[in-house]
């Protein structure tokens, strides 16, 4: 008979070990899945995790890891602040879209002006766009006590409609022969979020993501506000006695995560993507939730988790084209990662014991 016994204190060791164990378990079960599909599991797993980092074309894939990972990290950092305090912003995808729309619109408004200040204005506009979108659920929660999970999630679909609308109307490329989609910001130099060093993958979004990691680390560990965030999440009653103002905390957490998601969208639209199009968003806002938890809501953890997630995406594509693995199998593989993480998380708070039961 196996029983779960609650630990008196959450295990420090397990809280570090679970992500690693989850990755290993995903490799094993994913390997079995690939084997059932008739592929060599060792080769498949190897392709996913090895090729992008050390394969023949790693010089191309490594920078791509930064490009793919940066928006995930940037969004996840913002989300983790709220998640720590028990404020659940599920609508980062919508804030990401609004950031992209605001940022691109600001840039396109100046077209074709060539000036150094265009890009900084776009950055600010992107952050404001995401922040405003997140302020809707924040305000509704503070004022009317609505559930921020539902409101922020529903606003994703509203944002998607806005995206379709501006792609077809307001921001449509006047030289696009009636096709939807904006001008390509990559070919408008003042608005282009170009790689800082050609071929390195380092664009301003990557830099901002790294700054956000440091900023979040300092905030959570050295600042009163960070302490309040952690306190509210871990001991809400104690937080009240400590004089935490819940309304202010909600506005801050949602606003900050919205601004960071907006920045991610803005850097994406002005850099790797280039155009505001109907299909601009590809789910970074939702994947970032996985990244935040995979990284244990810790800034450094999120940085590593974002890298890992980017790795499975890029490695997954390589596995598709080299080994003919179906896309769905890669998605199952990514899903397993979160599943195992949550499953093994149990061991942080509980221990498994073999209990002997007296038989009458």
């Amino acid at each position: 008979m196996i029983v779960l016994e609650k630990r008196p204190q959450p295990s420090k060791a397990w809280s570090y070990a679970t992500p690693l164990v989850a990755v290993l378990a995903t490799m094993v079960c994913g390997g079995i899945l690939f084997a059932v599909l008739g592929k060599n599991p060792v080769q498949a797993i190897g392709t996913i995790f090895w090729e992008p980092l050390f394969g023949e074309f790693a010089f191309y894939y490594r920078p791509q890891l930064l490009v793919k990972g940066a928006p995930l990290v940037l969004i996840a950092i913002g989300l983790s602040l709220g998640f720590r305090a028990g404020i659940w912003n599920i609508g980062a995808e919508g804030q990401y879209i609004m950031g992209a729309i605001f940022g691109a619109a600001a840039g396109l408004a100046f077209y074709p002006l060539d000036a150094w200040y265009v890009f900084p204005i776009m950055v600010i506009a992107g952050a404001i766009g995401g922040c405003l979108w997140a302020m809707i659920p924040a305000f509704l929660k503070v004022r009317f006590g609505t559930n921020e999970i539902l409101v922020s999630l529903m606003l994703v679909y509203v944002a998607e409609q806005m995206l379709a609308s501006v792609s077809l109307g307001l921001l449509k490329n006047p030289e696009g022969f009636g096709f939807p989609g904006s001008r390509n910001l990559q070919s408008y130099e003042s608005a282009h979020n170009a790689e800082l060093i050609a071929g390195s993958g380092m664009h301003w979004g990557v830099v901002t993501a790294l700054i956000a990691v440091i900023f979040a680390y300092v905030l959570l560990n050295r600042h009163m506000l960070g302490f309040h965030i952690r306190l509210t999440g871990e001991a809400p009653r104690a937080a009240k006695f400590a004089g935490v103002n819940p309304a202010r905390l909600i506005l801050f957490c949602l606003g900050m995560s919205g601004a960071l998601a907006g920045l991610a969208g803005m850097f994406e639209v002005s850099g790797p993507s280039g155009v505001v199009s109907i299909d601009f968003n590809v789910g970074y806002g939702f994947t970032a939730i996985i990244v935040a938890f995979l990284g244990r809501l810790h800034p450094v953890g999120i940085l590593l988790a974002g890298g890992l997630m980017a790795l499975t995406y890029i490695g997954g594509e390589i596995a598709q084209s080299q080994l003919g693995l179906p896309a769905a199998a890669i998605q199952v593989f990514q899903g397993m990662l979160l599943f195992f993480l949550l499953a093994f998380d149990l061991l942080t708070n509980y221990r498994i014991r073999a209990a002997r039961r007296e038989v009458a």
Binding site: Y61, G178, P180, S277, V282, G324, A327
Partner: protein, 357 residues
Amino acid sequence: MKFTSLLASAAMALGLATSAMAEDKTKVGFVFVGPVGDGGWTYEHNKGRLAVEEEFGDKVETVFVESVPEGPDAERVMTQMALEGADLIFTTSFGYMDPTINVAKKFPNVKFEHATGYKTADNVSVYSARFYEGRAVQGHIAGKMTKSNVIGYIGSYPIPEVIRGINSAYVHAKKVNPDVEFKIIWAYTWFDPAKEADAATVLIEQGADVILQHTDSTAPQAAAQEAGNVITFGQASDMSEYAPFPRVSSIIDNWAPYYIARTQAVMDGSWETVNTWDGIKEGMVEIGEISDSVPADIKEEALAMKAAMAAGEYHPFTGPLKKQDGSDWLAEGETADDGTLAGMNFYVEGLQGEIPQ
């Protein structure tokens, strides 16, 4: 990894790639927007890929990546294929246009073929099919068959290709049934069975007894089957599993001959940038079997129209035609030019509603 090697230019990458792949096998890559099992658009492109494999056997190697989002991810997938030595890459969705151009710039020795777009380059061709010819046949059958005089249309995105199809179907439905009315829903997706089924259900609830779709899954067919008295047409693929009812006919995209010809051109070294727009005549657009649910006389008329288009005697957009706002478009006997059709962004007279802006 030294920093300098991070900076390896794309041109150098190409040099490495081609020398590594200096075997005589021609490598052909395909980038798909949906899963190969979508039963529609991507399914037919994949059939074209398999036809290339069958035609050339050992002389060719094909690779594909499915469900690739339109944007930076597509760019990475194409780059990856080019790095791994692809000689020819087909990018099979409108949204891959800018990524295709970007990657093509970095790999001048790799040939690219972009479906349904308009940007070409020295190593980028574009190709598309005149689906609107098939829509004319559908419109004719739909106009004759509808009892409620309401025809539902599931649009994907309001791009010229889709608007052309709506106009063509409407013109021909109206011709045989002056009372006909089109209800159009924009799904903003190429492939999303749940959304497509919802759209079909809403249209049926609004009285439509014919559903035309410009999305890729078979979900609208299933929704019509459930409703019972609604007819549909297969889109991009035959969707014959829903024949003879509700699916009464279909537009089939036949990419295989084009893919084989272009692969051959790369092998021969005769590949050039082209702008291909083929229809029923060339066999790129096929009309799936018209089932027995359609009365014999209507079927005969539809086949006659198809034959006239195949012979080049009939153009689906032949005047007199007016635009939705009442202004003149085509005079009596005049046919639409390809330039106007390619960028079509207006409805013809009689269609209700506005193209989303």
